[in-house]
Every structure is written in structure tokens, then in C-alpha cells.
Amino acid sequence: EAGQARFDALIEADGRIEPRDWMPAAYRKTLVRQISQHAHSEIIGMQPEANWITRAPSLKRKAILMAKVQDEAGHGLYLYSAAQTLGIGREEMTDQLIAGRARYSSIFNYPTPTWADMGAIGWLVDGAAIANQVPLCRASYGPYGRAMVRICKEESFHQRQGFEILLELSQGTDAQHAMAQDAVDRWYWPSLMMFGPPDDESPNSAQSMAWNIKRFSNDELRQRFVGMLVPQAEVLGLTLPDPNLRWNDETQAYDMSEIDWTEFHEVLAGRGPCNAQRLQHRRQAHDDGAWVREAAHAYATKQAAATEQAAA
């Protein structure tokens, strides 16, 4: 087929596929799944941090946190738009999310019991997200790559803010320092799990790499991330909770303890602490807002009819 040939050539040349271009059904499906999952993660990911907006301990931090959570809504919007260019509607994606049939990043099923979690999420979770996402800025599907460029810029800003929160706490009172260390202890391993299963257990990765959607393997990205964390943890004066973590001159990489994937799979299977709460929160916002969306729709319809009549 001419379409397939042109597609292959574009991929070969590391070029960009655009919405009107022909693309293989599997490519489209993979992208829809990945982009909508990413969008849902942004939306569900608002909740753990929104939990502290009303209780932020200074007005400056409150402002930064509000801006951040609101940015996440914006990221969700970009990504839903990118997915829409592939022929899926936002309503359909929302319905899948609320019905519990769509994936989102498991990390957001952990609770945020303390303010230090705002720092740990920024530093570790956003950090891992960036490590995952920077290569996606060059993803072969145009609208996705362009959305990622915007998102990555804001995310790295968020990561720096998370680092600052932890730094302030670490250098603060004993109680604050302990709060920071506790948060790092809780988020470190889950953030490493964000890169997905080890390479030898990651069946979809090869195809995604062939299509220039994915650029590096899970383990490569994870290794790179840890390499970035180690010196930053020193600056913070906080300990990464892995006694086996050390630089290995031979392998030119960090040795680390084996990741315990049991909990990861539990959370993924819906048995994390907050899985139910996250979906419930989203469902409630959606249901509570139904009358508002219906009103907006009815009003727009009436306005359109009036405009048409005036024109006739």
C-alpha cells in the first residue's frame, strides 16, 4: 500500500506523522491508549496535590501549589486534544476513566498525608515523569510530540519547586526534616516503578521503539533517573531509602536493590490505598457538574438557533 510505504518512510526518516496522514491501525491504537492514559494521569494526578491547597502553610506555597495543580488540568486538556486528533472523543475517554476501564499512572493511588508529599511528588514523581517524557517530545506522532514539549517545560518547573519544598523542610525544624525524609522514604520506590517493568518483562516496548514513540528502554530511563537523584539528595541532606545504592565503576551505572514489584502489581490491580477514592472523586465532580454542562450546552444550542434565525 502507498499509505504504509509513506508511513514507513516517514518513520525511517524520523519524521512526523500528522492527523490526516495514513497510519497503521495498531499504531493508532497504541497512541490512543498511551495518550489517553497520560491524560487521565494528569487529571487523577491533580487530586493528591489538591489535597493540600486549602492547607498550604504559607501564601507563597499556596499560590505555587494552586498554579501547579491547575497546570495539570491544562496538561490534561492538551493531551485529550492530541488524542482527539486520532478520532476518540473526550466524553468517551472520560466515561472510560470514571467507569474504571481506563488506566492512569498507579503512583497517584498513594495518599498524601503530609505537606512534605508536595515536595516528594514534585522532586520524585515529576522527576520520573520528565525522564519518561523528554524523549516523547520527539515522538513520531506530531500532536503528541508538540503537547509534550509544552508539558515538559512546565514539569521541569514543577520539579524544581518540589526540590525547593524539600530543601526548605530538610533545613527547617527537626519535625520538618523528619517529615521530608518520611516522604522521600514513601515515594522513592514508587517513583522508580513509574518507568515500568524491567526490560525483559516489557512486551510492548519493542514495537513502540520501532515506531519512534518510545526512544529508550524502561531500565535505561530508570538508571538515568537514579543518576540524577543521587547528587540532588546530597544537596537536600536526605537519604534515598536503598542501602545497596552505589556507583559501580565497572558497569558505569548505579547498583541498586531489586525492586519489589508485589506492591506495584497490587496497586495496578486496583488494591492501592486510594484507587477507589480517586475514581470516586472524579465521578463525583463529573456527576455534580452534569447540570452545569447541560445548561451550557442548552444555552449554546439556543444561541446558535437564534443566530441562524437572525441570519435567515
Binding site: 491547597i53 492547607r55 502553610p57 526548605e168 455534580d288 457538574g289 447540570w291 452545569v292 447541560e294 442548552a298
Partner: protein, 245 residues
């Protein structure tokens, strides 16, 4: 002067309490666009609060956080309108309509204040508030002219918020001592109400005819809601006295 600080606290507390309430909406709005919009409005308003409170604090060396986190309820100067609960989206929009119409007119005039700091804050804020008002207006039109249910709900929201409108226009003794510095609240009544009236007319909604509440926010006598709001807002800061964040 202490009087100017007192007045800056009126405006700062109005904005702070409003921002605190708007922040709750982020992740709970009827659509993602509104998570963004209400978040933006909340951020703007929080910015205004911080400017006013920082200025108020210069009178006796307190920071914005001293004022936000370490004052007790009777020391707050917010009007009851701003303390009205978020309720459902329509309740929030009705409150926002009145709040923005009031602040728009107020900041416009305050831009000419003899106090350069107040004038500067007002000048900077007025454009943002104009956007907030426009946002509320668009929703008044949609909810007023949308479905039967939305019309009924937003009309009830207006009735519920209306008792707190009157307080915004009440003069207090401190205003007499700030001639040329503060905007006299009573002079705002006519233009603000006229503007709201025009919006309600356009939205096909009735101006409520309900009695005003004997609200006393400017004198530290607050609605039931404020105690709960402050308990939540201040809990973390107060559990770590002396800490910085």
C-alpha cells in the same frame, strides 16, 4: 498608618478568603476548562490578597503569613459575602458575580487613591478583576438561559447570596479618617448594583428582594463559616510555630 493598614486588611481579607474558597474547586469543577478558569481566578485573587496584606503588615512589621495564619477569627476583616460557602457551582458563580462587580468598581476608584501603594495594587488588579467579572457574566447567561433546572438553581443562588450584598456598601468610622485614601463603600452601591442589575436582566434572572443580613465582618463579627475555613487554612502552619516553608 494603622487606619490605612486596617483598610488594606479589609481588602486583603476579602481576597484571601475568596481565594481560599476558589482553591477548593481545583479538581472538582464541572469541566476541566473550569478547573483551569477557577484556578486562575483564585490565583489572581490570592495575588491581590498577598499585596494588600503585605502592605497592611508594614504598619507593625507583620508578614503576609503572620496575618493569614496567626490572626484569630475576630481579627479578620472580610465581609460575609466572601465567607459564603462554595455550595454548588451556581452558588460559587453567584458569589463571584457580586464579588467581582464590587471589586472592579472599587479597584477602579482606588487606582486614584492618595495612597500610592494602594493605588498601585488596585491599578495592577483591575484588569484581572474585569476578566473575573466577565467569566461570571458568561456563566450567569448560560445558567440563567440554559435549562429549566439551571435557571431555577442560579436564581436560588442569587437569593442565598443577596443578604450579604448590603454589607459591602456600609461605611465604618475608619473610612471617615481615610478621606482620599479609601474608597467610601456607600458610593459604590449605586454603580455596582446597576451593573449587576443589567447582567441579571440580560440573563433573564430576577434581582432578589430579600432582607440584608446584619453582617459585621469589618468589625470582626463573622459568619458561621469563617471559623471552619480558618481551622483548615491555618492548621498546618499553626502546628509548626516558628517554622518557615
Amino acid at each position: 498608618t494603622p487606619d490605612t493598614a486596617e483598610y488594606a486588611m479589609w481588602l486583603g481579607d476579602d481576597a484571601l478568603i475568596l481565594a481560599q474558597q476558589l482553591g477548593w474547586w481545583i479538581s472538582r469543577a464541572p469541566e476541566l476548562e473550569e478547573d483551569v478558569a477557577l484556578g486562575n481566578i483564585g490565583l489572581d485573587v490570592l495575588g491581590h490578597a498577598r499585596s494588600f496584606l503585605r502592605y497592611a503588615g508594614t504598619a507593625d512589621g507583620r508578614t503576609e503569613d503572620d496575618l493569614a495564619y496567626w490572626r484569630d477569627e475576630p481579627a479578620f476583616r472580610s465581609a460575609w459575602l466572601f465567607e459564603a460557602p462554595n455550595g454548588h457551582f451556581g452558588d460559587t458563580i453567584a458569589r463571584q458575580l457580586v464579588a467581582s462587580a464590587f471589586q472592579l468598581e472599587l479597584y477602579r476608584r482606588l487606582a486614584d487613591s492618595a495612597d500610592p501603594a494602594l493605588a498601585a495594587i488596585a491599578t495592577k488588579s483591575v484588569k484581572e478583576v474585569a476578566y473575573h467579572l466577565d467569566h461570571a457574566v458568561q456563566w450567569m447567561l448560560r445558567l440563567g438561559g440554559g435549562t429549566e433546572l439551571s435557571h431555577e438553581r442560579i436564581q436560588q443562588s442569587l437569593v442565598d447570596v443577596w443578604p450579604f450584598v448590603d454589607e459591602l456598601f456600609r461605611d465604618e468610622p475608619v473610612i471617615d479618617r481615610l478621606e482620599g485614601v479609601a474608597v467610601r463603600p456607600s458610593t459604590l452601591r449605586e454603580p455596582v448594583l446597576a451593573r449587576i442589575q443589567a447582567i441579571l436582566d440580560a440573563a433573564g434572572l430576577e434581582t432578589p428582594s430579600v432582607e440584608p443580613s446584619m453582617a459585621g465582618g469589618r468589625r470582626g463579627s463573622h459568619s458561621t463559616r469563617l471559623g471552619y475555613l480558618l481551622a483548615e487554612m491555618q492548621v498546618l502552619a499553626r502546628s509548626h510555630p516558628g517554622a518557615t516553608w
